[in-house]
């Protein structure tokens, strides 16, 4: 059986079928199909929306509408006494006009810098090396700035650690200090360098004082440093 013969036989086998084309019926049918497709797309969209909305509303239900707990009701904790939360990081109390930046160099492992504070918008974040330098260089004449280093364990250059005075109950600018002529404070005006010993670490307080800083600001500065719990 040749290919041509097979082709001829196949065609003969279907020659008896007489097609009756009906284009209008095809168009009507296509319109129905189109409507079904649109309907299906809408149904899928609704299903997807419900799929998200229902679980979200269930979560909302978990959260809200809980009856207020009357005072004195024991909590669900099995412990008899509430565990005190860990004490917060040391902070300072400063007047509203002050700008306080806690932990200004978080990447710095040692020494730690608990805070920097000033009465002007000092550069932040400061440079990693000599962080105080830009702040002190921008110190206005009527402003003050303070920056604390916490060396734990005591810094290597503090061989005379034991000779530092203990952290005072109240900080005063009149306490013994050196003028900031050392690294990171050199040439930046009236900069004072205070060192203290506190239990197991040393505390360095760098203070920048503008030439026209008022007495009130100086007192405020003393209050701010005193509020720090070394």
């Amino acid at each position: 059986v040749t290919d041509d013969l097979l082709k001829e036989r196949v065609r003969r086998a279907v020659a008896g079928a007489t097609p009756t084309p009906d284009l209008d019926a095809v168009v009507r049918r296509s319109q129905t199909l189109r409507r079904r497709r649109v309907g299906a797309a809408i149904a899928v969209t609704i299903a997807l929306l419900l799929g998200f909305a229902v679980p979200l509303s269930m979560l909302t239900g978990l959260r809200g509408d809980r009856a207020p707990v009357p005072p004195g009701t024991p909590g669900p904790s099995p412990s008899a006494e509430p565990t005190p939360s860990p004490s917060p990081a040391p902070v300072v109390i400063a007047p509203p006009s002050w700008i306080v930046q806690p932990n200004p160099l978080p990447a710095l492992i040692s020494p730690q810098i608990p805070f920097a504070a000033g009465t002007y918008d000092f550069p932040r974040p400061p440079l990693v090396a000599c962080g105080t330098q830009p702040a002190l260089e921008h110190l206005p004449a009527d402003a003050v700035f303070v920056w604390i280093y916490r060396y734990s364990p005591p810094d290597a250059d503090s061989a005379d650690t034991a000779q530092h005075p203990p952290w005072p109950d109240r900080f005063s600018l009149d306490l013994p200090h050196r003028h900031g002529d050392r690294e990171c404070a050199a040439g930046t005006g009236d900069v004072r360098d205070y060192r203290f010993w506190a239990v197991d670490h040393t505390v360095q307080v760098l203070v920048g004082i503008g030439p026209d800083a008022s007495d009130r600001l100086l007192r405020e500065l003393e209050d701010v440093v005193s509020s720090y719990e070394a």
Partner: protein, 163 residues
């Protein structure tokens, strides 16, 4: 009803071929007509996407064949070919053999022998390579040859009996 002129041209040109391809496989002219209409309706829904493709005629044919096969699977009773003009035994046997072919061989035969598509175009429609189409055609040809040969032998036997 206004319809894209290119679709109308395709419909007028290809509808008889598509319908006959389905008839070849199903042996039921009514089913063939319905399946062909449905396939063209589906093509019209997708016309913007497939209208300019060279294989659109083949797409309609294979779609119609699939629709027909689905319909046939749902039918519990064998449909007798009563509505067609009286056929000779050879053609009935050929259609019977066609019906027993695997689906892909049916498609290859319909596209190549009935719609006259070259093997390359049939391969594009069937989403396979030319070698696969050739294999389907070769296997289908062997089965159909056997059906025709058996019919020849039976026919000769009958004519001898008559003599």
């Amino acid at each position: 009803v206004s319809v894209d002129p290119t679709f109308q041209i395709l419909y007028e040109r290809e509808f008889p071929h598509v319908m006959r391809a389905v008839f070849l496989v199903s042996g039921d002219p009514q089913l063939a007509e319905d399946a062909a209409q449905e396939a063209f309706a589906r093509a019209l829904v997708r016309w913007r996407r497939i209208g300019s493709q060279p294989w659109v005629g083949g797409w309609v044919t294979t779609t119609a064949l699939n629709i027909a096969r689905k319909q046939l699977r749902r039918r519990p009773v064998h449909v007798r070919e009563e509505s067609t003009p009286p056929d000779d035994a050879e053609l009935l046997d050929l259609r019977g053999a066609m019906r027993r072919l695997p689906a892909r061989q049916q498609e290859a035969v319909a596209l190549h022998y009935l719609l006259d598509l070259p093997v390359a175009e049939a391969a594009a429609v069937m989403a396979c390579d030319e070698g696969t189409v050739k294999t389907h055609l070769s296997r289908a040809r062997r089965t159909l040859e056997r059906a025709l040969r058996q019919n020849d032998e039976t026919g000769q036997g009958k004519s001898r009996d008559r003599d």
